[in-house]
């Protein structure tokens, strides 16, 4: 054997060893690689919401609620020995960003499931991908038809639905005001959602022998004079508002300015204390919002006490009354409930299989019990009306969830 052959053989052995070592370490890395976002000591759970942009005021608070509930669970030791790591992606109210973030959570930094999906446009765009994919959406922030109909084992709604809001709000007012042929006005911002909500209101009031008129308003409106003058002509028995916080504030201030005492209820998203405070006590006297969630501090149910105490402890006392915070908290409860059922070896496939059989989330009074079945993933369906008590600066509920169950048809 020549010196050069010897050197070659030595070099080959050296490279062979290096290759073997690399392969070994790659295999070891492969064995330690995250399986569907599940690690030895933690599980990654994704959140897709707008934490900046025009809808961040509500969706950002939802994310805080979600994170805080998971933080509480982690402080108590996690779920089945693993901590829950929330990977929240900011969609910036941009469907393109949403798509990129979704793909990232599916394959790049894999998560076991995703919650939120706050932008309806993105939901519609991603619906076929989600339904045909492997990552379930547990606790959606908004429930579009494209994503939630027909029922899919990949999607579980986590927010109050417009149809149910319309049914409960209309039903309650028709009963309370003892109306035979109710006249209702839907005051809504000029969006597809506003039209959809009005259609649900018209359907609900039509079934009860009444009629509904649709008035629109710009999202950026600063004054409601044209709409209020139209309301004066229509003389409705009650009004329902769909829009952003300004829509509700300007409506109630406008009604007060014209001395109109017309009961009004807003959709769930219009349930923040600052909305009532901005209206002022006089204008807010006729205003309530319809919600499937109870704001923090509004009652003494165990679920509400737990939320309120924890929010106060971690310095989020100012958010606990915001319905979006409660909604985020409850979606995290849904996620935790689902993970608990999986036991020691959670995977995406097992999560989908387990969820598809149906499950119930007991929020201990923060909502009525939320039940998902193989044929119904609507989520919260029982609502109640909530107003604001200016004497104590707290929300007050008009009755219990049980009183409104009859409207959940």
């Amino acid at each position: 054997m020549t010196a050069s052959t010897l050197a070659f053989s030595h070099q080959a052995r050296h490279w062979g060893l290096l290759l073997s070592a690399t392969l070994c370490s790659l295999t070891a890395w492969g064995q330690d690689a995250p399986q569907d976002g599940v690690y030895k000591d933690r599980i990654d759970w994704g959140v897709l919401m707008d934490m900046s942009g025009p809808t961040s005021a509500s969706q950002g608070i939802w994310v805080h609620g979600f994170r805080d509930h998971m933080r509480k669970i982690n402080e108590a030791g996690g779920i089945n020995g693993r901590k829950i790591n929330v990977l929240a992606e900011d969609n910036r109210f941009n469907p393109a960003t949403d798509k990129i973030a979704f793909e990232k959570l599916v394959s790049q930094t894999p998560v076991i499931a995703i919650s939120g999906m706050g932008t309806s446009v993105s939901q519609v765009a991603l619906a076929p991908t989600i339904k045909a994919g492997k990552v379930p959406i547990v606790g959606t922030y908004t429930a579009t038809k494209a994503l939630s109909e027909p029922v899919s084992p990949m999607v579980y709604n986590g927010f109050c639905g417009y149809k149910q809001m319309a049914q409960a709000g209309v039903g309650y007012h028709v009963d309370k005001l003892k109306l035979k042929s109710a006249k209702v006005v839907t005051l809504a911002i000029e969006t597809a959602g506003g039209k959809e909500y009005h259609d649900y209101v018209a359907e609900a009031v039509g079934k009860l022998g009444g009629s509904a008129s649709h008035l629109t308003v710009k999202v950026t409106a600063v004054d409601m004079t044209p709409q209020i003058l139209e309301i004066m002509k229509l003389k409705p028995d009650f009004i329902t508002v769909y829009g952003v916080s300004n829509t509700a504030i300007l409506t109630m201030k406008g009604l007060a300015q014209y001395g109109l005492n017309i009961p009004t209820f807003g959709i769930t998203y219009l349930g923040a204390p600052q909305i009532f405070q901005s209206m002022g006590s006089a204008a807010a006297a006729n205003y309530k919002f319809i919600s499937c969630f109870t704001p923090g501090g509004a009652d003494q149910t165990p679920g509400n006490k737990a939320l309120s105490q924890y929010a106060d402890t971690i310095g989020r006392g100012d958010m606990k009354q915001d319905i979006n915070y409660v909604a985020g908290w409850i979606s995290a409860q849904m996620a935790a409930e689902a993970l608990t059922k999986l036991g020691k070896n959670p995977t995406r496939a097992r999560l989908i299989e387990t969820l598809s059989k149906g499950f119930t989330v007991n929020t201990q009074g923060l909502t009525a019990p939320i039940t998902y079945t193989p044929t119904n993933n609507t989520g919260p369906v029982v609502f109640k009306l909530i107003g604001y008590d200016f004497a104590v600066n707290k929300f007050k509920a008009y009755g219990e969830f049980a009183d409104y169950e009859k409207y959940a048809r």
Partner: protein, 288 residues
């Protein structure tokens, strides 16, 4: 009904006019098309939240705080960001104001949180009846304050020596420099005035609605107002603002809320095509 809609449009237009005036002052003095003007409106609302709700200052002191803070913000922005870009292409400065707007929004959301804040001032909130016309005191106050500000700054630019110097700076930058006037001081003053006017508009918008970063969009309605009135014209900005307010309300009442955007922007396009220097602006002629 017509009178009611007209008066509400006038009140609304007064606020737009105030913000537009601030925009025009900055543009006239420094040639900067300030896309951050809408965020100055938001800053005004949050200065009010800070002074009234957080610091709980007595209302007169709160007003001084808001004016002082807004003026300081405008001056600082000019000193730190605009002045160093002096002589650079207009596109760089425009990009800077867009970036500034995004940064201010993020900063406010970090400091005050993503939630809007309710803003309650001791300003009157009842309703004034003028025959069949109902006007809220808040709208009336907003309109009166806007008109006083507009008149005050109109007189300032026309009759005070500083106002005259500012106009001179805007009209002939080089001639003023040769005369020994400190142009940077004049420009800083213009930015201070522009941001203060927007902030006053923000205080009213914050109370009419809610103090939130979403007020930026409403503040930016001053843009069509100032283009319609004339970018270089102080009275034009005011009348442009009033026109936008009245058109918005009339279109929303007699056609549909969405149509108000169409009517306003069609008018803007027509003005740009027929009279690009605006209704009250002056045509610029250059020697070749």
């Amino acid at each position: 009904m017509f009178e009611q809609v007209f008066f509400s449009g006038l009140a609304l237009g007064s606020i737009y006019g105030l913000v537009a005036l601030g925009f025009a002052v900055i543009f006239k003095a420094t040639d900067v098309f300030n896309f951050a003007q809408g965020m100055f409106v938001v800053c005004g609302a949050y200065f009010a939240v800070t002074a009234i709700s957080i610091l709980q200052l007595p209302f007169p002191l709160a007003i001084l705080f808001i004016i002082g803070a807004a003026a300081l913000l405008g001056v600082l922005i000019h000193m730190v960001l605009i002045q160093p870009l002096s002589g650079r292409p207009m596109l760089s400065v425009i990009m800077l104001t867009i970036a500034l707007s995004i940064a201010l929004r993020a900063f406010i959301e970090i400091v005050f949180g993503p939630q809007g804040r309710s803003l309650a001032t001791p300003m009157p909130t009842g309703v004034l009846m003028l025959g069949e016309v109902r006007i809220s005191y808040l709208h009336l106050t907003a309109a009166l304050v806007s008109w006083v500000c507009m008149a005050g700054f109109g007189l300032f630019f026309r009759f005070t020596s500083v106002g005259l110097l500012m106009r001179a700076c805007a009209d002939n930058h080089e001639a003023v420099v040769v005369s020994g006037v400190n142009v940077n001081t004049m420009n800083r003053l213009a930015w201070g005035i522009g941001s203060t006017l927007a902030a006053v508009g923000g205080v009213f918008l914050g109370q009419l609605q809610i103090a939130s970063t979403e007020l930026e969009g409403i503040g930016l309605l001053a843009l069509p107002a100032v283009v319609i009135g004339g970018m270089q014209s102080i009275p034009g900005a005011i009348i442009g603002g009033l026109l936008v307010g009245i058109i918005e309300q009339m279109a929303a009442t007699y056609i549909s809320p969405k149509s108000s955007d169409i009517v306003i922007y069609v008018l803007l396009l027509l003005i740009l095509m027929v009279r690009p220097w605006g209704l009250f602006g002056q045509r610029e002629l250059g020697r070749v």
